[in-house]
Structures are given as structure tokens and as C-alpha cells.
């Protein structure tokens, strides 16, 4: 049974980051999720059963995402007002239109029901085949096909319904 080669993992960081962003809906949470995923993967040698590397990483990413969400829901918060904070992403400050498109697209994906979102992330963002996605997500290939089509439909509809860009500009003060 082949072993996961840790040396080959860095080439997947960009794709995993996009997948994590689509799962979380936030680029900042996506960074934490990807890092936690790699911490788990690198904690000990891993065997690839029926997966290739990317499918294996997708499965760990999904499990990490679901468990971190469960943990977050149990953690007591005195205030849960991070949404009120005005956030700005300095990485995209020089390409604001690009950033808005990315925010909108990944935001739309993040609003999908979990099963639809995971199918779309696995196939359209990570580039897995339907069969690989099914194995990674523990679903039949036909189920992945159905979920994927519905997910795409919803995302396309969501993007088409978006208001013009002016309404979604970053709230960062320019003074």
C-alpha cells in the first residue's frame, strides 16, 4: 500500500486553500483550516488506501473542517461579535475587484448545504473525479453527481442575483 509522501504535499497548498475558503467562507479561517489539516496529516506516516494524495487531503480537510466546527460550537464565547468587526484583507488590497469576485464566489459556495458544498469543492475546486470525490466523501458516485449539479445550480443562481459591485465594496476607511 503506497505511503503519502510529505515532500509532495506543498504543491497542493494553493488548491487546498481555495477548497478551505469555499468550505469556511472566510480566507482567514481557511488559512487556519489548511494549517490544521497539514498538522494532522504530518503528525505520522499515512497510507493511501484507494486514494491519490489529493483525495486523501480532501478527506482530511473535510474531517478537520467538520470537527473544528463542532469544537467551535461548543466553545463558550463571551462575545460573538467578530462579524461586527470591519475586516480588510491586505493581500488583495491592490486588486479589489478580483477580491470581491473571489469573496462573492467562495461566499456563495460556503452558503450551500454541507453535502452540496463538499461535492462542489471536491470536484470543481480540487479537481477530483466523481469517483474520487465519492470515495473521499463517503458517498456513491451517482449521489456526488446529483449533489454537484444542484450545488452548481445554486451557486450560479446566487452569483446571478448579486447586486452591483458598488454595494459590496470593502468597508475599509481610506483616510
Amino acid at each position: 500500500m503506497p505511503r503519502l509522501d510529505p515532500e509532495s504535499l506543498p504543491v497542493h497548498v494553493d488548491r487546498l486553500y481555495r477548497a478551505a475558503w469555499a468550505l469556511c467562507g472566510s480566507p482567514h479561517d481557511a488559512e487556519d483550516l489548511v494549517q490544521e489539516t497539514f498538522v494532522r496529516v504530518l503528525s505520522r506516516p499515512r497510507l493511501l488506501r484507494n486514494d491519490d494524495e489529493l483525495a486523501y487531503l480532501m478527506r482530511v480537510l473535510r474531517n478537520t473542517f467538520l470537527s473544528s466546527r463542532r469544537t467551535a460550537s461548543r466553545r463558550p464565547h463571551v462575545t460573538a461579535t467578530l462579524d461586527e468587526l470591519e475586516l480588510a484583507d491586505p493581500r488583495v488590497a491592490d486588486r479589489p475587484e478580483h477580491a470581491l469576485e473571489a469573496q462573492a464566489l467562495y461566499g456563495a459556495i460556503a452558503e450551500l448545504p454541507d453535502d452540496f458544498r463538499l461535492a462542489l469543492v471536491a470536484v470543481d475546486i480540487l479537481g477530483l473525479s466523481y469517483g474520487e470525490a465519492g470515495r473521499a466523501l463517503g458517498a456513491r458516485e451517482a449521489t456526488i453527481t446529483t449533489r454537484l449539479h444542484r450545488a452548481r445550480r445554486k451557486v450560479v443562481a446566487s452569483m446571478d442575483e448579486r447586486p452591483p459591485r458598488e454595494g459590496s465594496a470593502p468597508r475599509r476607511s481610506l483616510d
Binding site: 510529505p6 515532500e7 497548498v13 487546498l16 463571551v78 467578530l82 491586505p90 469576485e101 452548481r152
Partner: protein, 221 residues
């Protein structure tokens, strides 16, 4: 059986697929450089462990030591050498106090007085003083019954490096950088020309930002 061009469902599915693909191609979203650095550091730590002769069951302590080594590599990568960084200052804010809780305390090398948050549920529990790359760092610790402990460190001298980590929030005209490291929430800002860092393993980022704004701007907590 109708051809693809005659089947409206198939056409719609194909159109959706093309639209999603086009959208995803249009929004390049490479992972931030710092994330690449962190993953490289994790991989380096993993590689170093793989090269070690196999030891009998490391257990939890071994896993913890390995994680600490990986974190140290990340921090060294982030600080980039001798100059102090907000992240290295945050380690002091997450350390244990070495002195008793003071009645009032002014950070060494500054005129910044540490706040008294006792009446807001955060009584002081202790202090410590350290030197970080030639700078004096004064830290006061507070403990809330509900939320746990936080450390507030003030680094004397000109503002230290923030690096590219975390995100910036703007509150009441001030910039506050919010970071996470090793499961801890960290908020840092510049006050009177000195770097302030509040860090906690249990309080939320929103709580820390609220306290930072209160200290920086004198607004109610």
C-alpha cells in the same frame, strides 16, 4: 435518446458546469505566502522527525514536543531574525507571571499605564518583565472567572514588526491586527509609539479586540 443539444437539462447542466469553471478560473486565489511558509515549516519539522532513529513510543509528550518544535520554526520564520515581532512578544503574554499583581503598573520604558479591569471582571493576577532582542517587555496578566486568562504585553521602543500574519480590523479610527498562533488569539496595536500585545488561549478574538480598543481609546469595555 435525444442528443445533448436537444436535451434542455443536459444543456443546463453543461452551462452550469462551464459557468462555474469560468468563475473559478476568473478568481485566482493563491494561498498567502505566510501559509506556504507555515506548511514548509511543518514539513521541515516532520522531515526532521522522520530522520530521527525510531524511539520507543513517544506518546503525548513526544507529540507535544514535536508540535512545539514545529511552532518554534514557524515563529523563527515569522520573525525573520533578531528583530522582535508581535508574535514573539505574544509568547511572553502567554507565559506565566513571575511577579505579584500590582496596584498600578507603568510599562518599563514607556508612559503607558496598564489598565485596572478588576471592576469589569478581569482582575490582575500577576506580572512579568522580560528582555526581547534588547527591548524591555512588561506584561500584566488578568483572569476572568468566565473566560480564563489573558496577558497584556507592552514592548518598549519603536513599533515591532507585525509581519503579514493575521488580519487588520479598524475600530474607532485605530488599526488592530488579529492573529492566531498555536490556538491562541492575539491582538496587537501601537499605542504612544510602543507595541501592545494582548494574547489569550481561551478568550475570543472579539473580546481581545474590545479590550484593546478600550485600553487604546479609553472607551468602555
Amino acid at each position: 435518446m435525444g442528443s445533448m443539444s436537444e436535451d434542455p437539462d443536459r444543456e443546463r447542466v453543461a452551462a452550469d458546469e462551464q459557468r462555474i469553471a469560468a468563475l473559478l478560473r476568473a478568481v485566482e486565489a493563491p494561498a498567502p505566502a505566510l501559509l506556504h511558509q507555515r506548511i514548509a515549516a511543518l514539513n521541515a519539522g516532520s522531515r526532521a522527525r522522520r530522520r530521527l532513529p525510531r524511539a520507543p513510543a513517544l506518546g503525548f509528550a513526544g507529540a507535544f514536543a514535536a508540535a512545539a518544535a514545529a511552532l518554534a520554526i514557524v515563529l523563527v520564520t515569522s520573525t525573520g531574525g533578531a528583530a522582535p515581532s508581535a508574535l514573539s512578544a505574544s509568547r511572553l503574554a502567554l507565559a506565566r507571571p513571575t511577579g505579584a499583581a500590582p496596584a498600578a503598573l507603568v510599562a518599563a520604558g514607556t508612559t503607558i499605564r496598564f489598565p485596572n479591569w478588576a471592576d469589569r471582571g478581569w482582575p490582575s493576577t500577576g506580572t512579568r518583565r522580560d528582555t526581547l532582542d534588547g527591548r524591555t517587555v512588561t506584561t500584566e496578566f488578568y483572569r476572568s472567572y468566565d473566560v480564563g486568562t489573558l496577558g497584556y504585553a507592552i514592548v518598549s521602543g519603536s513599533p515591532v514588526k507585525w509581519g503579514a500574519a493575521g488580519r487588520v480590523v479598524w475600530r474607532h479610527g485605530g488599526d488592530y491586527r488579529v492573529m492566531t498562533s498555536g490556538g491562541a488569539q492575539i491582538v496587537t496595536w501601537v499605542q504612544d509609539g510602543h507595541t501592545c500585545v494582548i494574547a489569550s488561549r481561551t478568550a475570543s478574538a472579539a473580546t481581545l479586540v474590545r479590550l484593546a480598543v478600550a485600553q487604546d481609546r479609553g472607551s468602555p469595555v
